[in-house]
Symmetry: C2
Amino acid sequence: MKRNRMSLQDIATLAGLTKMTVSRYMRDPSKVSERSRGAIDEVMRQHNYIPNRLPEILSGAGSRTLGVIIPSFRNQIFSDVLEGIQQVAEKHGYQTIIASDNYDPQVGQEKIITLLSYHIDGLLLTGTQHTQTARDYLKTSGIPVAELMEITAEPLDIQVGFDNRQAAFDMTTEFIRRGKQQMVFIGAMDDPRDASRYQGMTQALQRSGLSGQHYLPGAISSMALGRRLFQQIITQHPQTDAIFCTNDDLAMGVLLECQARQIRVPEDIAIAGFHGLDIGSANQQKLASVITPRLEMGQVATGLLIAQLEERRKAGTETVDLGYRLFNGDTL
Amino acid sequence: MKRNRMSLQDIATLAGLTKMTVSRYMRDPSKVSERSRGAIDEVMRQHNYIPNRLPEILSGAGSRTLGVIIPSFRNQIFSDVLEGIQQVAEKHGYQTIIASDNYDPQVGQEKIITLLSYHIDGLLLTGTQHTQTARDYLKTSGIPVAELMEITAEPLDIQVGFDNRQAAFDMTTEFIRRGKQQMVFIGAMDDPRDASRYQGMTQALQRSGLSGQHYLPGAISSMALGRRLFQQIITQHPQTDAIFCTNDDLAMGVLLECQARQIRVPEDIAIAGFHGLDIGSANQQKLASVITPRLEMGQVATGLLIAQLEERRKAGTETVDLGYRLFNGDTL
DNA sequence: TTGAAAGCGCTAACAG
DNA sequence: CTGTTAGCGCTTTCAA
């Protein structure tokens, strides 16, 4: 019932050896004599020794720990990415320390510094929007960084994502091809991904001499939010014939509200979402969406990050575009 | 571009002081002279000093870090709990290290030991099913542990949850009150919560001289899974008139499949889910469900855990039952 | 107000 | 095969 945990020294004393022998045993039992092994085995079994990773990390060995910062836990998108990260990290024996920044680069900066103070070996970030201070710290730290979900011209190190702008451009083009003319974009937290998607839509519209509206609630997406926003939209812009949402839950909310109002989808109003979530594809009337590789982004980014760490090469920058797929469903 | 990060010593040398003075400055700038303060300020600004938390933690101060183990990131239930944990941890200046055990107590045991080796101050676990070895390590470590999502007779320290069995009992009673006789329970990963819920249903049925079926796919719940299982159920037990699911996504899958098959809900088949997710309550036909306090469980458990840590009292065990609410919706 | 010494628990390097 | 020494970078304590 002691306040202090058992140390290697304690084990060694109990086994009549020095901590060095016990240390060797821990890393590779075959490196100590049969005799010692038995003695240590016995003591260990009785005392639930908890290894202490800190001294080793403190003396400059790696920590086999990756930092992860996501905007929010309450968004399935990032849960999927996290799952991918965990899978690969676990496979390679890496721990993860996860923090969330609530979509705020300033908070993100603090989290980055905190994670660095724990001696993480590498860092996975969402998006490419970081404060200058954060960039400075990251450069000083010298650890490899992976940015997920977006592709930009200037990766810090590793970048794994897809082209949000192009995806929205393509989906919008599909709306137009089907004769829709009065499009509205519904965003959520107004993060850079939302912005790129809106930009893509605008560009596609412009190419056809059209223009569109947009709603940026600055809130986390949900079905309830989608319903609420659609009520607003249909009042303010009754001529709307197409709605493109930055997330499938928003789009499902819109779809349900259309059903409630006897608005025909897609004849009166066409709807598309983003990400290709279960919620949309399992629906009776399948939701059109841009299917994104969320799990894969986590997996690939973590794999590349660990590869850099293991090979101890600080390779040049590396960008992987995992692409996306348009799913037309029944709402387009 | 050095491989080694800057230490307090380095800063001190550059500022013409000793590391002790810089250390004091870091904790409280008013504890050093105006002169020193200026010198340190200046050096700091130029070098992005990253504090090193390890030495302090190593020498026995707390780490202000909590460990968290959840079954999976791909289940909104735990994302909500996580969010609650993060909110409170952040407010009190605590970091979290999060791991997932894929619903496997054996994996959970490993994760517990790993987290302990990082000197966490406290630990939040999902559920109350732990290996004996895990229990031994936890006791030896002496840190306070919070168990979430369930209420049992023997908490380790803190337990924050609700009565899964009673909740299912109550919901089943409601089914029966409405004349349903042929109930089927759909579980997911067959974790102890699933088991308690199934038990609650069985008890309520027995009280009325009824019995029920159950399906335990051993997979993570999803709408698609719900649809698939319902197809099986309706084939194998065509007389089924009520379906109770351990999660709302499963229930929504069932509901959609009913719609596809022109089965009237709730007249032909009544449906209820569990947790009260957006997906069910935002639906046109509102899904009956047991509404659970997921965010609150995370918040309350973390608050209690931190309170114990700050007061340095290893209080006796503490159990908080946050309850649940039945929502009858339109499917009952 | 500042400095010097000791120590947290481990492992790398070197000896025996 | 096993032991000894030194050191990672802080903070605590004691001293000046």
